[in-house]
Amino acid sequence: MSSNHNPIIEMKGIEKHFGSVIALAGVSLKVYPGECHCLLGDNGAGKSTFIKTMSGVHKPTKGEIHFEGKPLNFERPRDAIAAGISTVYQDLAMIPLMSVSRNFFMGNEPLRKFGLIKLFDHEHANRVTLEEMRKMGINLRGPDQAVGTLSGGERQTVAIARAVHFGAKVLILDEPTSALGVRQTANVLATIDKVRKQGIAVVFITHNVRHAMAVGDQFTVLNRGKTLGTAKRGDITPEELQDMMAGGQELVALEGSLGGTV
């Protein structure tokens, strides 16, 4: 359960209530640099809510967050980004009417001195955007192209490329592959792999056990707002993981008729 080095983020007993809904009922977790931590679980288990507390979107109702060993409270996403946490949200955080390069640098605009005032360095932004997109295998018509003209998969790729580019220390991905085709999925998994090898901590949410097994170093399963425990790679088989995620016995009936292919 522990690693040879110190966790970059440690979440302790996080609870989150929305009005009368208890979305998280005490979840603890450690994320280590250079490792991919997979977060799994049913719909509505609280995965998105959990990572949103990690990235400053929600403030936890109860619980503590330690970042690089120090207790920390993110007031807003900006603080988390400043601390080096980059997130690709399930609901994408792209602005369709804006150009790809403006979207790419949204919140992280590069500045250029112009006399006394600082201006948006469009040239730099355009260059970097084109470059980063090319690295991800996407050739844009131009950096001015509006995000609205991209397909869903392409948008997803922009979001990931952006997060990777600015994700200094921690990269959080919330179901990045759910809407992607096979090739795009492979691309994303490869990116996670690459990023992890650069020493960045990755938190990866998915419903697909195979995707999780492909890149995960640790696996945490959430269920109805609580954690079912964390397992290390090699300590758990895909079948055990699948069972845990689905809550066990209920699947047996289906498996029969569908041939264990889920």
């Binding site: 979107v57 807003r76 996403p77 900006r78 988390a80 980004i81 400043a82 997130t87 949200y89 609901d91 994408l92 955080a93 792209m94 602005i95 369709p96 009417l97 804006m98 403006r102 640098f105 949204m106 919140g107 992280n108 605009e109 500045l111 005032i117 600082k118 201006l119 948006f120 469009h122 295998g137 996407i138 050739n139 844009l140 018509r141 192209q145 509006a146 609205g148 003209t149 991209l150 397909s151 998969g153 392409e154």
Partner: protein
């Protein structure tokens, strides 16, 4: 199937080609540019002999357009940030009245009256913005409430304090003030006098000012308009904050996720709108020397119309200050031009409605081409 390394749209067999020329043409301001060209062509054809394009005529519609521009800049930035402000007109009335009450009734020096009024207006703008971002209510409703509240006070204050709804005498009070000329003065008067003497522009042939040039300077109103347009344009397109404005209006939630301080952006834009309205009011008070409770009626619509004619998207996230300025120019030229052309004045509203409709349809078409909206 194909060797292309990605499903990108570039060099794609699935994209029909589009000419370079067409691409270069398609920009947010295109509608405004086309509109301006059309409007000027029409009036040059049909009203050129009416004095619309002599120096006096030009000054005439320039001033009207400049007024629209001042409020359009604020409305444009706010609209791009995803909100709009129906209280602009009431704010104009309110700010003007405050200046008059402070300077005439309370006898403060005019510069102090102006500064305090600006502070007050910015505070009200901030309050508007604060309510909108905190409650998540549509700005239509919140600012509609302020439309009524501010107008109510604009009528109530002078009536209870001075027993009248027009407070005059600001001109006398402003005599010798250092700040007032910044709003009410004219510049380049020497240049115009010289041009008049040199016969380049017409001079008065009769009346009290015989021999003086018919246009004796550029009113500060026009300078304000140009400065605000330039600053607004730079802010929007060239700065980090400009990117935030687009982001806040395009999708507030997404912008928040990526670390854009959306609430701050929106509140600041409400304040900008209030600022522009106050500039308008101050210029007007300084020019006419009085403040009336009915000043600024319906100006909020005029601002919104100019902005929309200029190509901005009512729902936010898209637009251009240059476009809004052109929209204001079109609006001003059409309004005055119809007078020059001698069109029955009650038909002005009909023209305005029709122009608005056509401009906005044209703009929608252009925008869809740019953004690939569906």
């Amino acid at each position: 199937m194909s060797e292309a390394p990605s499903p990108a749209l570039n060099g794609d067999e699935r994209i029909k080609t589009r000419s370079r020329f067409r691409e270069a043409l398609i920009r947010p301001e295109l509608g405004g540019i086309v509109g301006t060209a059309v409007v000027f062509t029409l009036f040059l054809l049909f009203a050129s002999d009416s004095g619309m394009f002599n120096s006096q005529g030009i000054m005439n519609w320039s001033q009207v357009s400049a007024q629209f521009m001042i409020i359009a800049v604020g409305a444009c930035l706010l609209m791009i940030a995803g909100e709009f402000d129906l209280s602009v007109g009431s704010m104009i009335g309110f700010a003007g009245m405050m200046i008059a009450i402070f300077s005439v009734t309370l006898g403060w020096p005019v510069w102090l009256a102006i500064i305090v009024t600006f502070a007050l207006a910015l505070a009200i703008g901030a309050l508007n913005g604060f309510i909108v971002v905190r409650t998540g209510l549509p700005s239509f409703i919140v600012t509609l409430a302020f439309l009524f509240i501010l107008r109510g006070f604009t009528i109530y204050f002078p009536q209870t304090i001075e027993r009248k709804t027009i407070i005059g005498g600001v001109k006398d009070a402003a005599e010798g003030d250092w700040l007032a000329p910044l709003f009410g003065g004219k510049i380049f008067t020497g240049l115009f006098q010289w041009m008049g003497d040199a016969g380049i522009i017409a001079v008065f042939e009769r009346g009290t000012r015989q021999g003086q040039p018919v246009v004796d300077g550029v009113p500060m109103l026009i300078i304000w308009a140009l400065v605000l347009v330039v600053l607004g344009h730079i802010l929007l397109t060239k700065t980090r904050f400009g990117n935030w404005i687009f982001a806040a209006g395009g999708d507030a939630q997404s912008a928040r996720y990526t670390g854009v301080p959306v609430n701050r952006v929106k509140i600041l834009m409400f304040m900008t709108t209030a600022f522009c309205a106050t500039v308008f009011a101050t210029c007007q008070v300084m020019e006419f020397g009085s403040a009336g409770a009915d000043r600024g009626l319906l100006k909020e619509f005029e601002a919104i119309i100019a902005v929309v004619i200029g190509g901005a998207l009512l729902t936010g996230g898209y637009g251009s200050v240059i476009g809004a300025a052109l929209g204001a120019l079109i609006f001003g030229v059409v309004q005055q031009g119809l007078f020059f052309a001698g069109v029955e004045s009650s038909l002005f509203r009909v023209f305005l409605g029709v122009i608005l409709l056509f401009a906005v349809i044209l703009n929608t078409y252009i925008r869809r081409m740019i953004t690939g909206e569906r």
